[in-house]
Symmetry: C2
Subunit: 347 residues, 2 copies
Amino acid sequence: MAVTIKDIAAAAGVSRGTVDRALHGRGDVSEEVRERVLHIAEELSYRPNRAALGLAALKKAVRIGLLLPSEGNPFFDEVIRGARAAEESLSDFGAAVVLESVRGYEPREHLRALRALAEQGANGICAATVDMPEIRAEIDALSADGVPVMALNSELSSCGCLSYVGCDYRQTGRIAAGLYLLLGLSEPSILIVTGSRRVRGHNERVAGFLERLREAGVPFSVAAELECEDDDAAARRLTLEALGAHPGIGCVYVAGAGVGGVGQALREAGLLGRAPILAFDDIPAARSLVRSGGIPATVCQQPFEQGYRAVKLMFQYLANQAVPPARWIARPVIKIRENIDEKDGEA
Amino acid sequence: MAVTIKDIAAAAGVSRGTVDRALHGRGDVSEEVRERVLHIAEELSYRPNRAALGLAALKKAVRIGLLLPSEGNPFFDEVIRGARAAEESLSDFGAAVVLESVRGYEPREHLRALRALAEQGANGICAATVDMPEIRAEIDALSADGVPVMALNSELSSCGCLSYVGCDYRQTGRIAAGLYLLLGLSEPSILIVTGSRRVRGHNERVAGFLERLREAGVPFSVAAELECEDDDAAARRLTLEALGAHPGIGCVYVAGAGVGGVGQALREAGLLGRAPILAFDDIPAARSLVRSGGIPATVCQQPFEQGYRAVKLMFQYLANQAVPPARWIARPVIKIRENIDEKDGEA
DNA sequence: TTGAAAGCGCTACCAT
DNA sequence: ATGGTAGCGCTTTCAA
């Protein structure tokens, strides 16, 4: 049988209540007793029992706020599914998730959502938001108020964030390059379609991609780098223009959203299936292009897992003061036609 | 606050003890009361609290037996890691894992191990074993004795197994075919190296591979199908012979173990990196061939996850009588040079 | 500053 | 056949 708080109390010659106070620094405990208890706990390598912790925590339910730019964004629908799954599996321990769904990346809107979550009594917040000064300031303020904030899916520059749960964009870019190499294309001209140069993740994906190609020492050239603002219509138009201006494009690398528009452009140009698209995630548009052969392979970032993880780690921090790792990085998943229809589920 | 057993007791006008007995069919309960309680529970959509369940279950620790042919088999080392991780995460609920490690697939040895686990007081057993009549009979006997057995990694023909946790071999074969198609090889002659025709998983991997290639309608031919008995030395020798007998082999498909031997043979024949190997799992030999370019991509079966899952599902069955799904299938993971070094971890 | 005790939801044992 | 209750490990409140 594992070591319990009772064992420590007996060994230290104090009551269980005192041990609890000493271990967690709540209430007043004499310095001498505190040290003795801590020492004994260390000695016996005490670890609190999670079942008991959960049961006792039921009284004061923990509320986890979730800020996602998920309006009209199917990637985040999966994040939500994961967060709900975590909520479900933690409901027996008193966890509840409150969601603020936002459209796009307008800082003002994100600020509003953060404050709304705090007002709804969130004890901690997981936020997929933008790396702007005003946002960072709000996060610092929330943290100071005792509401920790965790960056989700997009990392934030140094601020009071508890941790980052998401993916390593450079790494996924490198994997996309690996897939490019697998294809063994003969035409070395690549068209790059990025979402926005202001989005750090997109830049890193492009950098990782090019970095790996250079390392591999294969001949390649970048025909053009387009910025489509994550918009399908813009992606289609710009891609068509580029295909016209640069004949002989052998591959299109799509670092952000807008892959549906790129596919449409290639179809119109009669190149779908001939000039492969390398893309990210398995949102519906990407899925259907994988099925039709326009995308030979896509690198996915486990949105379900990200949502699940973020909620779970935040809960463990709030309920059991278990400090999460500074960065929890989702393992990238390569999907091709033969496994594109797999659905992520309960971890 | 969620519905508790107390609420049901109040609604039914009986005591909590009676509700417990009625819900779980233990002890004597009058038919009339039983029905009333069950009805109310259904009505209120009662779900037992897992934290409380775990806490109460601490008194009678659950022991889970694990039978693995893991001696000298690095694949199963990962399964063990996963099982240990599950044990760790369930230790707060009173779970313990006892391992019987066996070398190879000798039915006599497996029988001995099964009995040894039962003698050590295992309340349930997860077994990666062979599909033989004497084994199935023992499993039926154990089940009848109240020790449920779960098939792990290799499925067993209809017997009293609680469920199957592992992968879908045909599906992984199809994915390997998808990778073959990605490579766009010009030389359509394929050498197949299987482990053993007596191993169901190997056969299914070959069948799935060929099935998908036929579906795709690409030209291909099978130069030869070798059986290497999962042995590197045999694999090397047979592969070298086949390369000599069938010049122009463009790809080697390795359905079982022995991939190290195949790589060695290709190296000696000066074909490493020129005739790609398609293989399974990321055991050390496969990993190093991926790094050196001999294997462009490998299809992995999440051994860590399999071990983790099996123990977790078995525990939930034993402790909370939660019936596991008949089949829990691990998601296949494609690894290439750029992500081969990722380590599976805590789910 | 510390101790004692109630209570979280469930199970199991002892009375009745 | 049913009720009552102790107890799993921890937190928290009330007394002292």
